[in-house]
Amino acid sequence: MNTTNLRDLYQQVILEHYKKPKHRGKTNPVDRYQKGHNPSCGDTIELTLQLDPNGDRVTDIKFEGEGCAIALASVDLMAGALVGKTIDEALDAIGTFQQMMKGEGEFPKEQRKLNVMKGVAQFPVRIKCANLGWHTLKAALQMTGEAKLADFVSNEAEL
């Protein structure tokens, strides 16, 4: 194996988040619910959000579902970094993440933990794995009205 490249991609932190995720489960209460999937590979996650009473701050993020190490580590890291953020801040972070996947820019110091995902940019076919959680979160944040059993958002149109 060409391990230098692979160690860039599968850093210890990533494998740890994959194997021992901190944000698996369902929020209580469920203020937003969104399913996301990658149709070409079958990976699926279900994201639940808890919002503050005004509905402008994310107070908890949880996920369930199955996916590869890149997809699951990415959503777990995302949840860890974005709990407590306002909806606008979370949307900004999604933008930064998606730029980073294109090899442009990275997160500032306070959120530098997320920069471990940077290596994915060198593996174009895996970007949609890393983006699955973020894309799903975006749909959840932009959802209007009540939490409902919304349709899947597909992660392929965007990339």
């Binding site: 194996m1 490249n5 194997k19 590979c41 079958g42 990976d43 590869c68």
Partner: protein, 444 residues
């Protein structure tokens, strides 16, 4: 080649077929019998490239096969020497192109042992061929109350067309399930077939489980009830001898790109009278006899189903692919692949984290293995193997319902062809083990 070597003599004594055998000298200077792969690998230019600095080990043949020089040359030769439209001109180029295009059809007819080349319809791929039958025959023959039997192992392309037709006609879809060995459950099939059954559409070989389905028995039972049978031969045509008259199936479809031919060409075989009774699928040039403004009469078979300018070069190249495979011999291909399959399974089974789906050798099965490998998700595995130049498929292989049925979100699949070698299997197994260890090392 030194015909006097002691090892050679030993092998000759052991095999007794030394006169026909050729031998190659390996790096260590030891002679070993030349395998089918050794003979054919020089024919496939792509097999000699590198990926990430390692020799390519191409184990994604169930998705698409590589192409030999003969096929690449057929394409180039057509465009360099006689490119022109078929059935439309009286000039030399057009008649050469038409001859080659129709000649390829005859080769395909022989390849599947069709009674006549009129029974071979060119299509873009198997998917289009299935849609042709679904829209032409299905829409005009199925109605509410009728039943169509499929299996849970079908590729999406043998599923969705029937879902669409069922929605339009009110016919009901039924699904044959799997035995505990994850093969076609004939007992369950018997319980589903009845007078309402109008069609059975089933894959010959599953692209995920690798099981070889008992088509002759399936057809025999269906015909007792007057039902038609369509065989999806995508994963059998490249690997097994096919005889549509012996199978007695009503239709059979395959994609050229999985059997050494280019993409964009495949075929539908159908029994002559059945094809005659079917209305056209697509309308346009090429498929007509007499055209008036309000109505038209249609060309005879096979052209009734070939509207518009076809994939001429691709069809001719499919003919070249069929020649190539026939020259090797489909029996020989199947026998060599069976040997590789046994070897692959022997090695895979030794890795404790690996779970393989589908029947295991010595059961006759296809040269592929779909599996999961513990904590290593198929995508991660595929990325890791790719770094070693090894191409496998990861995902649901267009059989999502089957994956649900076997309770796997996704699987990794290594699929072989006659140009793969045991050495390549060794490389694959070593990288697989390394990947599993790499993932396990984090928490051990």
């Amino acid at each position: 080649m030194t015909r006097e070597s002691p090892i050679l003599r030993l092998i000759q004594n052991l095999t007794g077929t030394a006169d026909e055998m050729t031998f190659i000298q390996t790096k260590s200077g030891i002679h070993k019998p030349q395998t089918l792969a050794d003979t054919v690998r020089p024919d496939f230019p792509i097999l000699h490239r590198e990926v990430h600095g390692k020799p390519l080990v191409y184990l994604d043949n169930a998705a698409t096969s590589q192409k030999p020089h003969a096929v690449i040359h057929a394409l180039e030769h057509y465009y360099s020497h006689y490119n022109s439209n078929v059935h439309r001109g009286v000039h030399t180029l057009s008649s050469e192109a038409t001859d080659a295009y129709e000649g390829a059809r005859e080769k395909i007819a022989k390849f599947v042992n069709a009674a006549s080349s009129q029974e071979i319809i060119y299509a873009r791929n198997a998917t289009e061929a299935i849609n042709l039958v679904a829209y032409s025959w299905g829409l005009s023959n199925l109605q509410r109350g009728d039943e169509v039997i499929l299996t849970v192992m079908e590729h999406h392309s043998n599923l969705i067309p029937w879902q669409l037709v069922a929605q339009k006609t009110g016919a009901r879809l039924q699904f044959v399930q799997l035995t505990p060995e994850e093969e076609f459950d004939f007992g369950h099939y018997q319980s589903l077939v009845n007078e309402k059954t109008k069609l059975v559409s089933v894959s010959h070989v599953s692209n995920t489980l690798g099981c070889i389905n008992p088509i002759k028995d399936i057809v025999g039972l269906a015909h007792q009830y007057g039902a038609k049978v369509l065989v999806d031969a995508c994963q059998s045509a490249p690997h097994l001898p096919l005889d549509v008259q012996d199978l007695d199936c009503d239709w059979l479809v395959a994609s050229g790109h999985k059997m050494c031919a280019p993409t964009g060409i495949g075929f539908l075989y159908g029994k002559l009278n059945l094809l005659r009774s079917m209305p056209p699928f697509l309308g346009g040039g090429e498929m007509i006899a007499d055209v008036f403004l309000e109505n038209s009469t249609y060309a005879d078979l096979p052209h009734k189903f070939e509207a518009g300018t076809p994939a001429i070069a691709e069809a001719i190249a499919l003919g070249a692919a069929v020649d190539y495979l026939t020259n090797i011999g489909m029996d020989k291909i199947h026998a060599y692949e069976a040997e590789l399959t046994t070897y692959l399974f022997e090695k895979l089974i030794q890795i404790p984290q690996v779970k393989i789906y589908g029947p295991k050798p010595p059961k006759d099965r296809a040269a592929l293995a779909s599996f999961t490998s513990g904590d290593v998700h198929p995508h991660d595995l595929s990325t890791m193997l790719d770094q070693s130049g090894i191409a496998i498929r990861a995902g649901h292989h267009c059989t999502q319902p089957l994956h649900r049925f076997i309770k796997a979100q996704s699987t990794a699949r290594a699929s072989l062809y006659f140009y793969n070698t045991k050495e390549e299997i060794d490389t694959f197994i070593a990288s697989l083990q390394e990947s599993i260890e790499f993932f396990d090392s984090i928490f051990s």
